[in-house]
């Protein structure tokens, strides 16, 4: 199972370019009048186009690390290299205009319209008015807000979730190669947060930014991250690896402790159904059972209706489905919820593509042969 988890995860394929966009070299930070450093001799690289999640207990220096990247906090020692350029000594304001920055409290400018908020950096960079207006509309579309309705509204007229969408749009405004996000979804209700996370991944597929993302939520880190950097006390980097690797092979006791007992279950959310070898099922219009495969009746639209024959399962089991785009975690959720021993995996049109049995979870989950 552990090997399967690694090879089926999407992570490996997403950061295929290994050119580092951000590199921290022996960075340390000791705050004035404090004996112990907040960040100790930190070195790691963020590959171009990757999402790196910085996670750890509170006071572990993850936010300090993030803020040193755009020099809201100056490192005591060490170098920070952005896209090949040492930025430890450049003008911090100019540097920040090249880096998107999104914070938990959003911090929209209350006296400026949504459009003007998003236009902040392009205006400072001296873009032409028409270009700014176009960019604002484009970004509002990107984050799922209709420009006509939102451009001229003010921050206080928006919900928390909408405000953070605008916050992300403002961070993206000047098309910076790098985005720094400090718990951007931390103050948002769980349902909206889940939706924002999903949208965030969709947006990232289009924009392919290099993103550093601070979170204290392991599920979020596993869901969004191409890589996870786990920080321990004193800002020491305990492990820096793909989510699957962190969950299956914690580097030390600290990480194992942090990842906790739920690691095996969390790992299920890394297994995408689309990449698994699913059990074959037969769609029948009422004929005889076929050589040991489950047989399914479909409705007029081709969607699964009920089981006709289930080899190896004694009782009648309810019909439950899960979309192909989901993960094994979703499949388990559906099965537990419906008290079903197996679940039909359906494609976007609702047509059955295969089945996943409860037994297979503790047995052998086989990845598909890679097509590409």
């Amino acid at each position: 199972m552990s090997e399967t988890a690694q090879s089926t995860s999407a992570q490996g394929s997403r950061d295929r370019t290994q050119r580092p966009m951000i590199a921290l070299q022996n960075v340390s930070k000791t705050y004035p009048k404090q004996d112990s450093p907040a960040v100790t001799d930190l070195s790691f690289e963020v590959p171009e186009g990757a999402i790196v999640m910085l996670i750890g207990p509170s006071g572990c220096g993850k936010t300090t690390t993030l803020k040193m990247m755009n020099r809201l906090i100056e490192p005591t020692s060490g170098r920070i290299v952005l896209d090949g350029e040492d930025v430890t000594a450049v003008n911090p304001d100019r540097l920040r205009r090249r880096i998107g920055y999104v914070i938990q409290q959003v911090g929209l400018f209350p006296h400026l319209s949504i459009g003007d908020n998003i236009a902040t950096v392009p205006k400072m960079l001296g873009w032409h008015r028409n270009r700014i207006a176009e960019r604002v509309d484009e970004l509002l579309h990107l984050v799922g807000l209709e420009p006509r309705d939102f451009r001229d509204r003010y921050p206080r007229q928006l919900s928390g979730g909408q405000q953070q969408r605008v916050g992300v749009a403002r961070g993206l405004a000047a098309d910076p190669p790098v985005m720094l996000m400090d718990e951007p979804f931390g103050a948002i209700d769980p349902i909206t947060r889940e939706r924002l996370q999903d949208e965030f991944l969709v947006v990232q597929q289009q924009i392919a930014k290099t993103i550093c993302f601070v979170t204290h939520d392991l599920s979020e880190a596993v869901k969004l991250g191409d890589r996870i950097a786990i920080f321990g006390q004193g800002g020491r980097l305990e492990q820096y690896d793909t989510p699957a690797e962190v969950l299956t092979h914690p580097a030390n006791d600290f990480v194992a402790d942090f990842v906790g007992s739920g690691a095996a279950v969390r790992r299920l959310s890394l297994l995408e159904l689309g990449r698994l070898e699913l059990e074959e099922i037969v769609v029948s219009t009422g004929g005889a059972p076929a050589d040991g495969h489950p047989v399914l009746a479909v409705d007029d639209a081709g969607r699964p209706a009920r089981w006709l024959h289930l080899p190896g399962i004694a009782e009648q089991t309810p019909m439950v489905t899960v979309p192909m785009s989901g993960t094994v975690y979703d499949a388990v959720d559906v099965m537990l919820d419906g008290r079903a021993a197996l679940v039909v995996v359906v494609d976007d049109d609702g047509a059955p593509r295969g089945a996943l049995r409860w037994d297979a979870l503790v047995g052998d989950l086989r990845p598909k042969r890679r097509r590409s």
Binding site: L72, R94, R96, I103, G107, F109, P110, H111, M124
Partner: protein, 228 residues
């Protein structure tokens, strides 16, 4: 009533002169008080303007100390203050303007400081994070957000000054103070009480004019996004 109207028409030119000078006296004074207080508040509020070698506690105690000094100035009896200023600045309008301005310092400084520090720290962090320098942050973000509170402070200063401007008549000859002063000196004689009364009510009129002007300014400077 007839005699009152007759009084007004008899003294029309004089009353218009007093009204104009009273209004201008307060206007100049509040202008000076505003410039001085807002400048001082900016100096003490912006890290860039106070030497970075000053510790945080020194910066905030600088602010507190200034507020304390200005509030102390507010408690000095106006009659005494003009008396104290007279040997330095002499008799005349300049002394009246300076004296009045001193009474305006505290409310303007207090409200400017309150307005600037009422700006949400998250908003300032975001401003810094998108690459706004200290000056731009102050001009584009903090001052517009603090403006309504600062204007309220200026309004309070104006109301205080309109009353005290009457006392300024002892060292200058501008404003309705002249009228009240004349009236008080000649109490018991004919028309003296009318002088005092007209002087007092005319102050209310000047206050009303200022309130209308500031009502318009306040509406104008309050950004739409923070209007309730």
């Amino acid at each position: 009533m007839d005699s009152f109207l007759a009084y007004l028409s008899d003294n029309q030119d004089e009353l218009v002169f007093y009204a104009r000078s009273h209004f201008l006296l307060v206007l100049y004074s509040v202008g000076i008080a505003t410039v001085v207080s807002v400048a001082l508040a900016l100096v003490l509020h912006t890290n860039r303007l106070t030497p970075p070698s000053w510790s945080r506690s020194l910066r905030s105690s600088g602010q507190e100390g200034l507020l304390l000094a200005f509030s102390a100035a507010l408690t000095v009896p106006s009659l005494a203050l003009f008396g104290l200023l007279q040997p330095i600045l002499g008799l005349g309008t300049q002394t009246a303007v300076v004296g009045l301005a001193i009474y305006g310092l505290y409310p303007v400084l207090r409200n400017t400081v309150a307005g600037l520090s009422s700006v949400d720290p998250a908003v300032l962090e975001a401003a810094k994070g998108v690459g706004m320098g200290p000056t731009r942050r102050m001009v584009r973000i903090q001052l517009p957000l603090a403006a309504p509170v600062i204007i309220s402070g200026i309004r309070v200063a104006v109301l205080i000054m309109i009353g005290i401007a009457v006392v300024a008549a002892i060292i200058s000859d501008v404003g309705f103070g002249e009228l009240v002063d004349d009236g008080l000196k000649g109490l018991g004689t004919e028309g003296a009480f009318t002088d005092v009364m007209v002087g007092t009510f005319a102050c209310l009129l000047v206050a009303a004019v200022f309130e209308i002007i500031f009502g318009i300014i306040q509406r104008f400077v309050t950004p739409r996004g923070i209007r309730v």
